[in-house]
């Protein structure tokens, strides 16, 4: 870990790992001839091909990561790959503005999905910012308007087009966030108002322990850190976009949900793979994807609250994914990737290497590099205590 991040934030080891992650993500697209990124690589689930079908949802949020990797590694082909994936997502949009759920099967009509639409908006917005091409923002706005129209105004919940019928999960904060990304660019009040309603409804689900029981995939079941981190990140980003001061209810909710988890991580030396509403964890495996996502969420929380404990814990929870990255020559097409869980047969995405685990890993490494650089600068300019 120490060798990865030096005070000037630039080491060959970090670049080696980021390059390997980027190469894995590139292969996940090339296997589909550029038409989306495969959801995962697994010789158990896909003995012959290795790769699953393309996954529109995660291809969408892969786009900003490809741009960042392209910039960091000075590789314009990664930026170009981001553009082609944004074009592909654009072509998936339904007449009503929705974007599809599930894996992509060419020629088949796909059911729209609330969550997946939100995730693809993140890619479209990133492409709009990067290229200035109005098609992307227009598409993102149509998608956000579809989300607004699907929201039940009486409850602030989405009643349809869910991963589990009838379950409007707390990780829909990560739908409100992309909607706010759109409204902040288009000044569309309808979208903003719908996203605030959704966020407020989710805040009502938070219990005294800080957890939000509805953040699991299945109602009443333990939540993977993957969906816990989705929820926390959605709250943090929404708080930033709504522009409320430090007393934002969304930021406070993110803090309340994060602090007990951070304490657990520190006292146990690891983060369990999943938790119930009282923070009883499945300690026998680590959800590597969730660790990477928590690392990023906590670095942002550290920034927004000034509570630097979260930066420290974020760097620690990133250690397990760093150790687990497939870096041996024998790893073949999986080289550079992160598995869903550690051990490999852990409950989250058992024996698979999802593209989003590697995406969130790359995001977290880039965030850590930037945070350490900022902390170093702050010490140099304001660190009177060291002088």
């Amino acid at each position: 870990m120490t060798a990865l991040f030096t005070s000037n934030g630039k080491t060959n080891e970090l670049e080696r790992r980021l390059s390997a992650a980027a190469a894995f993500l590139r292969r996940s697209v090339e296997i589909n001839n550029g038409a989306g990124s495969s959801a995962y690589f697994s010789r158990v689930y896909q003995p012959k091909r290795g790769w699953s079908a393309a996954y529109p949802e995660t291809t969408g949020y892969l786009i900003p990561t490809l741009y960042r990797l392209g910039d960091r590694l000075a590789d314009p082909t990664l930026v170009e790959l981001g553009h082609t994936q944004a074009d592909w997502v654009l072509g998936l949009q339904g007449a009503d503005g929705s974007l599809p759920g599930g894996l992509h099967t060419p020629g088949k009509t796909h059911e729209p999905s609330v969550f997946n639409t939100g995730q693809m908006i993140l890619g479209l917005v990133a492409a709009a910012d990067r290229t200035g091409d109005e098609r992307f923002l227009q598409s993102a706005e149509r998608a956000a308007l579809w989300l607004s129209s699907e929201l039940n105004p009486a409850t602030g919940r989405w009643d349809r087009h869910a991963y589990v019928d009838g379950h409007s999960p707390a990780y829909y904060t990560r739908v409100a966030w992309p909607m706010l990304e759109v409204s902040s660019r288009t000044q569309n009040d309808r979208i903003r108002s719908a996203s605030v309603s959704a966020l407020d409804a989710i805040l009502n689900d938070q219990v005294e322990s800080g957890s939000i029981p509805s953040w699991s995939f299945q109602p009443g079941k333990k939540a993977f850190t993957h969906t816990i981190a989705y929820t926390i990140r959605g709250l943090i980003e929404s708080s930033r976009l709504i522009g409320e001061a430090a007393d934002s209810p969304y930021l406070n909710a993110a803090f309340a949900a994060s602090e007990p988890l951070m304490r657990k991580a520190e006292l146990k030396g690891k983060v369990a793979g999943a938790f119930d509403r009282d923070w009883n964890g499945d300690d026998w495996y680590v959800c590597l994807t969730g660790n990477c996502q928590l690392a990023t969420a906590w670095m942002k929380l550290s920034d927004d609250t000034g509570d630097i404990r979260f930066l420290s814990t974020a760097l620690k929870v990133l250690e397990t994914p760093i150790r687990s990255q497939a870096m041996s020559r024998a790893s073949g097409q999986a080289h550079g990737s992160i598995a869903g869980s550690s051990p490999f047969f852990g409950r989250y995405l058992i024996v698979r290497r999802p593209n989003w685990a590697t995406k969130f890993y790359a995001d977290a490494l880039l965030d850590a590099e930037a945070q350490l650089h900022d902390a170093s600068q702050a010490l140099a300019t304001t660190g009177k205590a060291t002088q």
Partner: protein, 261 residues
């Protein structure tokens, strides 16, 4: 005052200095309870908190006769200056006529029995892990601890490092131990001399020296000043072991500050 001293391991120079200097200041050190350096539980705790490599280094340090690391050197120099020649807690305890109890846990029955019935005014915490209520109930005044950071802001682990990272000047805060982590009433605040340190390890060493001096001074202070400052625990936060990349950043900043003319 009649006091007992705890020690985290048998070669603790810190505990030796506290025992010796308290005796020289006219206090009665009647009991010394030392925790065995290696127990499986303790080793597991170190690994959880510090990771395998650092935990191994910590345990090695506990076993070896003090190596001349940047952390140990200020304490060794302080002991030499004060003519404290032994680094064996047992030897120091024997020299002052204290009973010696080597235990696996300060809260274990053998440890508590060794402290009960001694009419203790104070227990001086010089290491040995978390203290439970039955032990805290034994002394008349309380259990005195020197916390290496500003309270109530920074409770918990690596407080000097966290203070530095937050742009605060590290200091020692003496408190009477309560059940919560570093939440007890504040006795006094003391500077850490010799700053800026050359490195984090060096800072830890300087903080240890400052804590020895603070403890000895505040045993006297407590005898005449029973009214203590209650902590507002809503102000600060509990901190944990600092991630290594942040320690490295601080080390870099301290090294640079030493290079400045």
């Amino acid at each position: 005052m009649r006091v007992a001293v705890t020690a985290g391991y048998s070669r603790s120079q810190h505990a030796c200095a506290v025992i010796t200097l308290l005796e020289r200041a006219g206090h009665e050190v009647v009991a010394v309870n030392v925790v065995r350096a290696f127990t499986p539980k303790r080793a597991r705790g170190y690994v959880r908190q510090l990771g395998v490599k650092k935990a191994a280094a910590r345990l090695q340090q506990r076993y070896q006769k003090s190596a001349a690391t940047a952390e140990v050197r200020p304490v060794s120099d302080f002991c030499a200056t004060n003519k404290i020649t032994s680094s064996s807690v047992t030897d120091c305890a024997e020299a002052v006529g204290a009973t010696i109890t080597v235990t696996s846990n300060l809260n274990a029955d053998d440890s508590l029995e060794a402290l009960r019935g001694k009419d203790l005014d104070l227990i001086i915490y010089a290491g040995g892990g978390i203290l439970r209520q039955p032990l805290l109930d034994i002394p008349k005044i309380g259990t005195l601890n020197a916390h290496a950071g500003p309270l109530p802001d920074i409770r918990g682990m690596n407080s000097s490092e966290w203070a530095l990272l937050k742009g605060q000047v590290p200091e020692i805060t003496t408190i009477l131990v309560e059940r919560g982590v570093d939440t007890g009433p504040i006795v006094r605040r003391h500077p850490i001399d010799g700053q800026p340190a050359a490195s984090i390890e060096h800072l830890r060493g300087l903080a240890t020296v400052a804590s020895i001096k603070a403890i000895v001074a505040d045993v006297d202070h407590l005898a005449t000043n029973p009214n203590l400052e209650k902590q507002d625990t809503t102000v600060g936060r509990q901190y944990f072991v600092m991630a290594q990349p942040l320690v490295d950043l601080l080390d870099g900043a301290l090294a640079k500050s030493r290079q400045r003319p």
